[in-house]
Assembly symmetry: C2
Homo-oligomer: 136 residues x 2
């Protein structure tokens, strides 16, 4: 699983944690121990998919555009990581009936598997994640 997903969930959970004020990329980056530019790239994706809003300039930053109860981990996964479950396969080898088809065959198994996995992720919201973090 790529790290965009966990950074996205981290960021959204942090925004849910302080719903009153915008969080800057620097603030989020320090919380997640990564570089601010990396956060801005991930949040750029979330913004494109309207999970957050951003405001430029002094005092700007990021806020949620939906209540945290209305955003699931599956929503986030689809934005940041769709398709990454797929196993890496070597190039197709036309000289071998196994090598020629394995990529496609495993591809369909994992594509369905991603949907199954998605149903699991869909059970958890950002609000749930915040609750789990705080009560620990």
């Amino acid at each position: 699983m790529n790290s965009h997903f966990s950074l996205a969930v981290h960021s959204l959970t942090l925004l849910a944690f302080q719903p009153d004020r915008a969080a800057s990329s620097t603030f989020i980056a320090e919380s997640a121990s990564v570089h601010p530019v990396r956060i801005r790239k991930v949040l750029s994706l979330l913004k494109q998919h309207e999970l957050i809003q951003s405001k430029e300039g002094a005092g700007g930053g990021f806020v949620l555009s939906r209540p945290p109860e209305a955003v699931t981990l599956w929503d986030v996964y689809q934005v940041t990581s769709k398709g990454t479950l797929q196993p890496r396969c070597p190039d197709e080898n036309p000289d071998c009936s196994v090598g020629a088809n394995m990529k496609h065959v495993l591809g369909s198994v994992f594509s369905d598997g991603e949907d199954v996995f998605g149903e699991h992720l869909d059970q958890f919201t950002i609000a749930d994640m915040l609750k789990k973090c705080i009560t620990n």
Copy 2:
């Protein structure tokens, strides 16, 4: 998903394809378009878990130790890729209640998710994979 998994499935399917004779690492490597040493490493794992048997020396190679109907993709996954679904998380940050717990919280969500995904993989056997490859 790491590539050990797809190489393992590829190898096992190839062994199922020619049940009569042992396959050498060179033969399998050519089918999968990768280096023989890499195949030997993956097959070493499968051997440790008794999914295959190997024979050294001239005319040696690898054979299945169970019928292909009795090996599922979940069996293979557990040997080659257990835990790889887990998203990469940055180090825990004790100064932030979100940063301090996110890794653990996501960890449990993905651990359960891996089991759900496993139930999906468990529906497919190596025999199924071979059938899918051949009828394409």
